[in-house]
Symmetry: C2
Subunit: 501 residues, 2 copies
């Protein structure tokens, strides 16, 4: 293959000697020139997951990574990998391979990408370490498409080892910073592949359900002129000769869409919080699944729609992502996620009573601490056998200024959180749609009215009653799979200490 | 209805007198207390679009906005609106209404939201100004749910008037700044409702098509530590005690996902450009529909997938959004969007030849100016009868450093743009997947290697050949509908001069 750069043929070759002239298999292996779209060959590349006994005795081409290699006398065993699938392959000295070719194959660095031609052969004993257990590939040609450097910053086998096993028998695992520093490699593990394919599924199920319910997807701006909610925890952006802020939530824009008659809207997008929280569940940038909906007479109309949307997601994951769930479970064992239909809805005062009964000392208008949230999750699980529930009617004092007060009890509000495995994944409320009451509540919270003028003005020309909420995508993924850190479910997490890669 | 705030009953009443005691209809109208979720009535609210002759003589409840009202002797005609649907309603003095009630109805400010009980009556002559032409509603009860202020900053009827008509007969239209300053009202027009419902459809069709093709949705960070591509036109963010940047595209992250074996990925998210461009098609924040895909031997495998995705979007819009297209056409008349299957692909040199033939003077390695792009669009339309085409093999000199050079001609590259109605909507390329060549090209472009180290390092552990591209959502919406300014297709547009609402 010709190469305009003129160096393709040699690229990365330093560790790999060229074939000697007297090698009878010298055309059968080597380092390909860099693929620059030189040609459009007719060649079909078979997927590793499709290598089954149905293909026995066929000669096929496959592209995969060298997952492991082991030379043994006149042969070399390779494991070729494609995402979560792998197959054993073998180069053995004979008609189709020389001693040099076997040596060449054995010397290819792990994680390199190779094109391989081989015969699919049934095996008599199942191959334990591979997903394709009933066949192996007898290699006739092998070309390096992209050569990996020899020293990997982490080993994929270490990265999928369950932590407990590692502690017990002293075998290596990989710590979180090493993973995140080398995310491109860490994301190649079967666990990461499963986590993020399932996360893609959550987004898809969320939208499918809402579009079916008549919602419209909206796009809201992330650069905003005024920090809402008093301006705490907000990132500042330089904006030409002035400055601006990064939106801490799309809420104000969702509400404007409601005032603009879109009736039921959702959006998926980044949410920015300049909070110096270094915990297992806080990120400075995360993905919000946001819903806002006008209702007729009671905000429970909205609560029911949101809860049903989450239930449809849980069901969809069970049905369509069983393989991914099981793959993650191998490394991170966990009970299947349980939920009820309809979703359990408790009032805040009931939760406080349950906690007090369990020995917790707290006031009726006090917010839930993280340990109390967790404890409440366990109490609810014991009593109702569900990992998902709604807590309704929070104290007004612990909610933002735009939260609608309860019509009867001025100490409580028409607001709710939703929980998975004892951790909050959604916060929401009926919003005040009346500009006069909104002004009063903002003043009560000491918010500069000038800064939220555009927001309040949105309600001056007729505003339907409405409610909504925002879901944290990374938290839903983490808690559904029973993982322990939100950095496991963010591809490139951002926290006060991490901005790379 | 009781109200905790204690003021609900009076709220917004100032302009509306309470009913006098001797009014026989005094229970049949008024301003409702603010809906605070006081109760869950069994009442069914019928949608205006469902008010047809099938419902004739039924007594129903409906919630809508007062679109217009006109008092005439002992009766008052209202037009009630819900999104793009509206119906005529009538209050007339009689058993169900008093003189005071008619006056009350006539005095409700336009754009207020009302709950109305009425009998659906067939009409003998079609009602021209309404979408529900065969029925009208005889009102028996009317309550204000949310009162609009008396002076609207713009009139909805003016806002949907075709510009030409306005100029010809002197009737008012609404200028763009007034629209954008009062976006919540401008978005209520039938045109805006149609534009943004169709835009929601574009996103849905994009994802449906790609998920069907086996793509995985990813979420990429928007706050990044280093400005790629040399650092021009990038917004700076304060990040705790340090600073960071807003991503100008998700490209580097899409590519990392390819290096992490996700094979085919897409994302939808905000893209930030600190460009001081005040044109009809530039925004400082827009929504990118991004695709990245590894391929086997030739980047045209990717080009074909992207082009087919756009074709599926165009077809889906034709099939599912005909009503919206026609609604927009009423205000902005335009030829239906034409495309070919398979998509027309021209080489850059062919385009230059066509332009030269048409009298344009330009060099072979010169980029297309905006007027030349437009002209080329017209020439292509004349010759091939398509509004959508691909321009392939751009001069290497006008493309970013990571663009793969052509394998034979070092002056051209494996890169492409896609056009709709003569304007660019996508830019893409085969990316360099070899760290050594990437380093050389970055140096050639004078880019600080230290700043893109993490990016280049992503390719050191085996990288598949890959290509991709980014589509501007607002541009696709604008050009598909034949609109003239990208601010018409961004709900809350951001440009160098506009950051609000």
């Amino acid at each position: 293959m010709p190469s305009a750069a003129g160096k393709g043929q040699e690229r990365g070759r330093d560790s790999m000697e060229p074939p000697p002239a007297d090698d009878h298999a010298k055309e059968r292996y080597g380092v390909s020139s860099m693929i620059q779209s030189q040609e459009k060959p007719e060649r079909v590349l078979v997927k590793i997951k499709d290598l089954t006994t149905e293909k026995a005795d066929e000669v096929i081409w496959v592209r995969g990574r060298i997952h492991t290699s082991r030379a043994k006398g006149k042969q070399c065993f390779l494991v070729l990998r494609q995402q979560q699938f792998n197959v054993q392959a073998l180069v053995a000295v004979g008609d189709h391979a020389s001693k040099q070719m076997v040596k060449f194959a054995a010397n290819i660095n792990k994680e390199s990408i190779v094109d391989v031609e081989g015969i699919v052969r049934k095996v008599h004993q199942k191959i334990g370490g591979c997903t394709q257990q009933d066949v192996e590939l007898h290699i006739q040609r092998i070309y390096v498409i992209s050569l990996a450097e020899p020293r990997l910053p982490l080993q994929l086998d270490d990265a999928v080892r369950p932590e407990v096993e590692g502690e017990e028998d002293g075998r290596a695992t990989v710590n979180q910073d090493t993973r995140l520093d080398n995310r491109v490699i860490d994301l190649r593990t079967s666990t990461s592949q499963a986590v993020f394919r399932l996360q893609s599924g959550i987004c898809q199920l969320f939208r499918e359900t809402l579009i079916h319910k008549g919602f419209v997807e909206i796009q809201t701006p992330k650069i905003i002129s005024a920090a809402s909610e008093g301006g705490a925890n907000v990132f500042t952006v330089s904006y030409f000769k002035s400055s601006a802020y990064l939106a801490q939530s799309p809420q104000l824009y969702k509400q404007m869409c409601i005032c603009a008659d879109f009736e039921k809207v959702f959006c998926i997008g980044p949410v920015f919080r300049a909070e110096d929280s270094n915990t297992h569940r806080h990120l400075t940038e995360f993905v919000g699944l946001d819903i806002e909906m006008s209702f007729n007479y009671h905000y429970h109309e909205v609560v029911d729609e949101i809860a049903d949307t989450l239930v449809q997601i849980f069901k969809g994951l069970q049905e369509r992502f069983q393989t991914e769930i099981q793959t993650v479970n191998k490394q991170f064992p966990c009970e299947p996620f349980k939920f009820l239909e309809p979703t359990l809805r408790l009032e805040y005062r009931e939760a406080v009573a349950m906690l007090k009964e369990a020995g917790v000392e707290m006031g009726d208008e006090e917010d839930l601490s993280t340990p109390n949230e967790k404890l409440l999750g366990r109490l609810v699980k014991e009593k109702y056998d569900t990992d998902f529930y709604i807590l309704d009617k929070y104290p007004l004092a612990v909610r933002p200024f735009y939260t609608m007060p309860d019509p009867v009890n001025p100490k409580i509000s028409n607001s709710y959180d939703m929980f998975m495995r004892g951790e909050e994944i959604l916060s929401g409320a009926q919003r005040i749609h009346d500009p006069q009451l909104l002004t009063e509540r903002a003043q009560h919270h000491g918010i500069d009215l000038e800064k939220i003028k555009a927001y309040i003005d949105s309600f001056r020309f007729g505003a339907p009653p409405h409610a909504g909420g925002g879901i944290g995508l990374e938290r839903v993924t983490m808690l559904y799979l029973g993982l322990h850190n939100v950095r496991q479910t963010s591809m490139f997490p951002r926290d006060p200490k991490r901005l790379t890669p």
